[in-house]
Symmetry: none
DNA sequence: ATTGTTTACCCACAATTACCCACAATATAT
DNA sequence: ATATATTGTGGGTAATTGTGGGTAAACAAT
C-alpha cells in the first residue's frame, strides 16, 4: 500500500513573508496527487482560518453546486457564499502559495502561520486564534468529543 | 499458521541518537505487513508516550475522520486534535525512524527509549515515565484491573 | 502614454533532512 | 567452532526545505 494521495496530516509552523506568500509543507506537496497540477483552491474556512483544497477535491464541490436548482433563492445564496471567496493558486518553485489580503484579513493572519493537515484538506491558522477556537469547542462540547474519540480511536 | 501480521508484543530498550532516530525492533519490522510499505504513523499517545501505528491501521482512522461532517465545530476540533500530531515515517536501511522534537518533548524522551508492543500498535516511552504512569494506574484502579484479568487472561 | 502597483519568475543561502557507509555486537548457519 | 548474516549505533555528505530578495512583465490609474 502506498501513502494516501490528497491526504494531509501533521502540524507545521511557517512565516508569511512581506509579499503574502506562505510555504506549503513539503510533505503536503508530496501528498498532492499529480492530477492536481500543483494547484490548490483556497477559501474561507468555517472557522476563522483559510481552507486549502486540492484542486480536484474542489472541483467535486463545484459539480455538486452545479446540480443545485437555481430556482430557489437560498440555493443561489449558498452557491454565492461558497464560491465567492475561493481562488485557485499554484505553488512556485520554492513551494509557496500567495494569499490574498482578503483571506489574510479574514483569518487574522499576520506573520506566523500554523498549518494543519485535516485529512482531506489543509487549514492555515493564526496560532492564537486556533488555540482560542479549539479551547472553546472543547469546553462547550466535551461529551460529544469523548463520544467521537470512543468511536474512532483504536 | 504464520505469525500474525501487524501484531506487536514484547518490550525492548533502545537509544535515541543525536539526530532523533530510534530503532524499530527487528521483530516489529518483521511483523509489519508488506502492504504498509515499511511505514508507520507516529503520534501522541493518550499517555505521555508516542503511539506508532502501522500505516494501514492509521488509514482506517483517517477514513472514519473523512466521514465526519465539517459543519459541526466539535467535529472539526476532533479531527484537528486527532491528526495534528500525526506524521508518516518510513524506516531507513538500518531500521530506524525519525522522531520530531515535538513528539520527543511530549513523551519527555531524552536518550533512553523503551518500546512496547501493544498488540495493534507500538508505544515508545521514557522508561521512568512508564513506571510512574503504570504505578499510578494500578494503585488507583486495582479492582478494575483484576476484573479485566478475570475476563481476559487465559 | 506615463506613471505606480501588483504579480510572476528568478536566484541565493542557511538549516535541516535523506541517504549513504562503517563497525561492533549478537545471532544464525554450516 | 568458525564463518556468515543480522542488528543496533554512530557519522559524513549531498540533496531538500524554508526564507529572503531582485527583476521584469502585467495590470491599473491618471
Amino acid at each position: 500500500m502506498t501513502i494516501n494521495q490528497d491526504t494531509f496530516t501533521g502540524e507545521f509552523s511557517y512565516t508569511i513573508d512581506a509579499k503574502g506568500r506562505v510555504n506549503i509543507p513539503a510533505k503536503f506537496r508530496q501528498s498532492l496527487a499529480p492530477e492536481n497540477d500543483q494547484t490548490f483552491v483556497i477559501t474561507r474556512g468555517m472557522d476563522p482560518c483559510i481552507w486549502v483544497y486540492p484542486l480536484t477535491a474542489w472541483q467535486i464541490i463545484e459539480d455538486d453546486l452545479k446540480d443545485l436548482s437555481a430556482i430557489s433563492g437560498i440555493n443561489r445564496s449558498f452557491i454565492r457564499n461558497t464560491v465567492r471567496y475561493a481562488s485557485t493558486v499554484s505553488f512556485d518553485k520554492q513551494g509557496r502559495i500567495m494569499l490574498s489580503t482578503n483571506l489574510l484579513n479574514y483569518a487574522k493572519l499576520k506573520k506566523d502561520a500554523f498549518i494543519i493537515g485535516m485529512v482531506n484538506k489543509i487549514e492555515i491558522w493564526n496560532p492564537s486564534e486556533l488555540a482560542k477556537v479549539d479551547k472553546q469547542n472543547l469546553e462547550m462540547n466535551s461529551s460529544e468529543y469523548d463520544a467521537l474519540a470512543d468511536r474512532i480511536i483504536l
